[in-house]
């Protein structure tokens, strides 16, 4: 039984109850969301020691952080430190996107290192193993790919990113319309190369039912990856992207019929004036399936600061209905993030998620802002710091930028507006 099939049977599982408790909503609402497919609760039935979390409509916007082994300098220990940093900074989900090295070992350690749902991208491991055993991923067989998928599912991975919608038709469309950047997604690029070299259709599309069967067996949530996500603002909402989204919508319906939980991954690089349309299209074509966006970054030129361009796009996207934000770190487009950049990336994405929850009027979101603003008005520094999204950082900055003895802050010093006005607005005002 999957969460979806249970929900369709009218049953409220312990995972649904746990999600409802964390969100402060009725368990029945969670069940209805899971049944309709607008909520997923990624939780592999083989996974142990995890706290279920829900992604989707009516729930708090969640944040996912990606780590993983990449290149010869990578080490499992450092990646585990990044997981720890991400989780302590408030990440709701971890993706292990290892592409090289001890991929099995990294995944298994990831699964026991975080209580959050864990996602992976099995194609990466299939590519690495074919490169090792068969000298090139071009010689990977379809069975090789499915074997890796099954292995990862059997290990307990909660959600799998799979490029099922990147079909030959779409690849040809991208070429024909002269996409500026047709190779955005690492997995997508290799898959496309494999399809062209072997002249066969994408096996994740052609043998989608085989995939659904495995996913159902472990209650793995499918995260439909978009091989044609725009990698620059000029490519946003082009024919290839929208065509793929149409196909993804069809695949969503098939997954639901099979009782498999499914969400859809999204861009990427999206100009602000395309964000609402992108989300609306996804929600319409994919019948309300949770949308898992990568950023999106609102401009191409923010290299070195893409946690900020990602926060801008992510806030807009989540406000428009995206449910899960994959963080973008300051190292994006430049290299591999270090532990500090992972932490900073999670906080930036959480700010975006919260700003969106506030704009959407999500239950409880405004209370947090209100409490902090009241503490600010009261010049209660301990409370302000405790309520801050990152208390550690707030404390450091307060220490470094103001005299600790001061009741105000060094920006205004003794001419604090809060203090001046409080004196004159009557006794009903809070004192400083």
């Amino acid at each position: 039984m999957t969460q979806l099939s249970e929900a369709l049977d009218g049953k409220i599982t312990s995972a649904m109850k746990e999600v409802a408790r964390k969100e402060g909503i009725a368990p029945e609402l969670v069940r209805q969301g899971v049944a309709s497919g607008s909520i997923v609760i990624p939780r592999n039935n083989q996974r142990r020691g995890m706290a279920p979390s829900g992604f989707g409509a009516g729930l708090r916007t969640k944040v996912s952080a990606s780590v993983g082994l990449y290149g010869s300098d990578a080490g499992i220990d450092v990646e585990l430190q990044k997981i720890k940093a991400a989780v302590s900074a408030g990440a709701d989900s971890i993706m292990d996107l290892s592409v090289s090295g001890e991929i099995d070992s990294m995944r298994r350690q990831t699964l026991v290192s975080t209580p959050t749902p864990v996602g992976t991208l099995p194609l990466y491991q299939a590519i690495a193993e074919a490169a090792g055993k068969k000298r090139s991923p071009l010689h990977m067989t379809v069975d090789d790919l499915f074997d890796v998928i099954e292995r990862q599912a059997a290990d307990g991975v909660d959600f799998l990113a799979l490029h099922c919608g990147t079909t030959m038709d779409i690849v040809q469309r991208a070429k024909k319309e002269g996409r500026i950047d047709p190779l955005v997604s690492y997995g997508g690029s290799h898959l496309i190369g494999w399809m062209i070299y072997n002249q066969v259709e994408n096996p994740l599309y052609a043998q989608y039912d085989r995939l659904l069967e495995m996913a159902r067996k472990y209650d793995v949530t499918i995260s439909l990856a978009d091989g044609m996500r725009p990698g620059c603002v000029a490519d946003s909402l082009d024919g290839a992207q929208v065509h793929e989204l149409v196909i993804l919508g069809e695949l969503v319906m098939r997954a639901r019929e099979a009782g498999v939980q499914i969400m859809v991954k999204g861009p990427g690089h999206v100009p602000l004036n395309h964000i609402e349309a992108t989300i609306t299209l996804q929600k319409s074509l994919c019948r309300g399936a949770p949308y898992f966006v990568f950023g999106p970054v609102a401009t191409d030129i923010g290299a070195g600061y893409d946690h900020i361009s990602g926060a801008i796009g992510g806030a807009m996207a989540a406000w428009a209905g995206a449910d899960l934000i994959c963080y973008v770190t300051a190292a994006e487009h430049i290299g591999i993030p270090d532990v500090a950049q992972v932490r900073e990336g999670v906080i930036a994405a959480r700010i975006a998620a919260h700003a969106a929850d506030l704009a959407k009027g999500l239950n409880g979101a405004a209370t947090w802002d209100l409490k902090l603003s009241q503490a600010r008005k009261d010049l209660d520094w301990e409370k302000q710091i405790a309520l801050a999204i990152d208390p550690q950082r707030a404390r450091e900055l307060r220490k470094g930028r103001s005299e600790e003895s001061s009741t105000a802050c060094a920006m205004c010093g003794k001419y604090c507006a809060m203090k001046v006005v409080s004196q004159y607005l009557g006794a009903s005002e809070r004192s400083c």
Binding site: S72, V99, I127, A131, L138, K175, R179, I180, L183, Y186, S189, H190, L191, I192, G193, W194, I196, C232, V233, H269, P271, A298, T299, D300, I301, G302, A303, G304, I308, S309, I312, M316, W319, A330, A348, A355, L358, K360, W368, D369, L370, S373, R376, K377, Q384, I389, A394, L397, R398, R401, S402, C409, A410, G413, Y415, A417, M418, V421, Y424, L425
Partner: protein, 426 residues
């Protein structure tokens, strides 16, 4: 003669030409915009030549930064370094908000060293001097207020934030509505305190024509201070804020009629779903005057990261019509920023402004992103560095450095390279 009077007389000034060149737009667009009040070009007639910028409709969104001493930290050498950092990081204008130490010396230093438009808030100096000389900010005299404006105008300040749109009507609304954070504008707080204590109407409102006369003489651009901006998302779009905006609109019309360049300051803490209505209201009530927003901050809960909360708000505000974004640094709400904070704040605001320019269809902005995308596809690292918002943090990227799309995992027979060949980008 002010820029706006020149524009109305059909003249094209060197400043208009400079703006047209920098923006790659027709000079007529600039002249018409200045004449109608939809564009301002802050430049005091006393100021020597500098990189002046146009702010308003149809132009690239500009970024302002703040420097200045405070009572807790009055190190003018540090502020000079911040100015240098700000210009290097791409600020289009800088405001000196000093309230500590040698305020006159600090302002003169800024005016001498800046190559961009310089703004100030004269009521700060006025209030601080009243406290020093007479023990309280409420001891400011009307004469002090106008003299502070005149002195700073005479020295060459290009634009001044002056809280004229604050009167007893606004304060009444404030008392009735019961805010979470009453008045967060320091200038607004000084004046509110002064008005309530002395039981007198705001002189900068009541004697607005006197003010306009001074500003016109030096072609100082009036930046109508947003005394009543929301300081928490809960206070956004309340009665007090809107009353302030209505009064501001009336004053904009009078300034425009008098031939004084004018723009309007805006919030502040604004939840995302309030940003568009805020911009629409301002443009409607203030006759299309350029809008200068502080942030806007999309949430209250991230002290230490308010450069990010304001990048989110600023981008949406810019896309909805804001013309000038005041940066917010990571030190906001916690203390006085360092040089690094100023730099981080400016870059975050520039990303927001640029993202908004893209959404508004600005041709220069679209072209830069397209070039960046092409440089990425071509794996041309040097061009990527040149096109990025700020080059400092970019070092080694370029795939494997051999100019191919091969990845580190596959080796020579890389599937991605096959795909690249197929698309003709190998």
């Amino acid at each position: 003669m002010t820029q706006v009077l020149a524009a109305r007389a059909g003249r094209i000034t060197p400043e208009m030409e400079m703006v047209a060149n920098r923006e790659s737009v027709d000079i007529e667009v600039i002249q018409t915009g200045v004449a109608s009040g939809k564009i301002v070009i802050p430049k005091n007639v006393k100021r020597k030549e500098f990189n002046c910028c146009g702010i308003g409709q149809g132009l690239r969104i500009k970024v302002n930064t703040l420097i200045g001493t405070s009572s807790d930290r009055d190190n003018i050498e540090m502020e000079a370094r911040k100015l240098a950092v700000a210009q290097e990081a791409g600020a289009d204008a800088v405001m000196d908000l000093s309230t500590g130490g040698d305020i006159d010396g600090m302002r003169r230093q800024t005016l001498a060293q800046a190559n961009v438009a310089v703004g100030s808030v004269p009521i700060y100096q006025c209030g601080v001097e009243a406290i020093e000389k007479r023990g309280s900010v409420v001891a400011m005299t009307e004469k002090d207020m106008f003299e502070a404006v005149e002195k700073q105008a005479e020295e060459g300040v290009d634009f001044m934030a002056i809280h004229c749109a604050l009167n007893f009507d606004v304060i009444k609304r404030l008392k009735i509505s019961g805010r979470v954070t009453d008045v967060v504008s320091r200038g607004g707080a000084f004046l509110t305190g002064w008005m309530l204590h002395n039981n007198k109407e705001n002189p900068l409102y009541e004697q607005f024509d006197r003010l306009l006369e001074i500003l016109k003489r030096y072609d100082v651009t009036l930046s109508l201070g947003d005394a009543i901006r929301p300081g928490s998302t809960a206070d956004s779009l309340d009665g007090a804020q809107l009353m302030g905006m209505i009064i501001g609109g009336e004053l904009v019309a009078r300034a425009q009629a008098a031939g004084v360049q004018v723009m309007v300051e805006g919030p502040g803490h604004v939840p995302m779903h309030h940003v568009r209505p805020t911009m629409l209201l301002q443009k409607r009530l203030c006759n299309g005057a350029p809008y200068f927003v502080l942030g806007t901050l999309a949430t209250d809960i991230a002290p230490g990261y308010d450069h990010i909360t304001s990048a989110i708000g600023g981008a949406i505000a810019g896309a909805a019509g804001a013309d000038f974004i005041c940066n917010v640094t990571p030190a906001e709400h916690l203390g006085l920023p360092t040089e690094q904070d100023v730099k981080d704040g400016i870059i975050a605001a520039r990303i927001a402004a640029h993202a908004a320019d893209l959404a508004r269809g600005n041709k220069q902005a679209l072209s830069r992103d397209l070039q960046m995308a092409k440089a990425r596809v071509a794996l041309d690292l040097d061009r990527q560095i040149g096109l990025s918002i700020y080059h400092e943090k970019i070092s080694a990227n370029g795939g494997n450095g051999d100019g191919s799309h091969s990845c580190a995992v596959c080796g020579p027979q890389c599937a991605a390279q096959v795909a690249a060949k197929y698309f003709g980008i190998a």
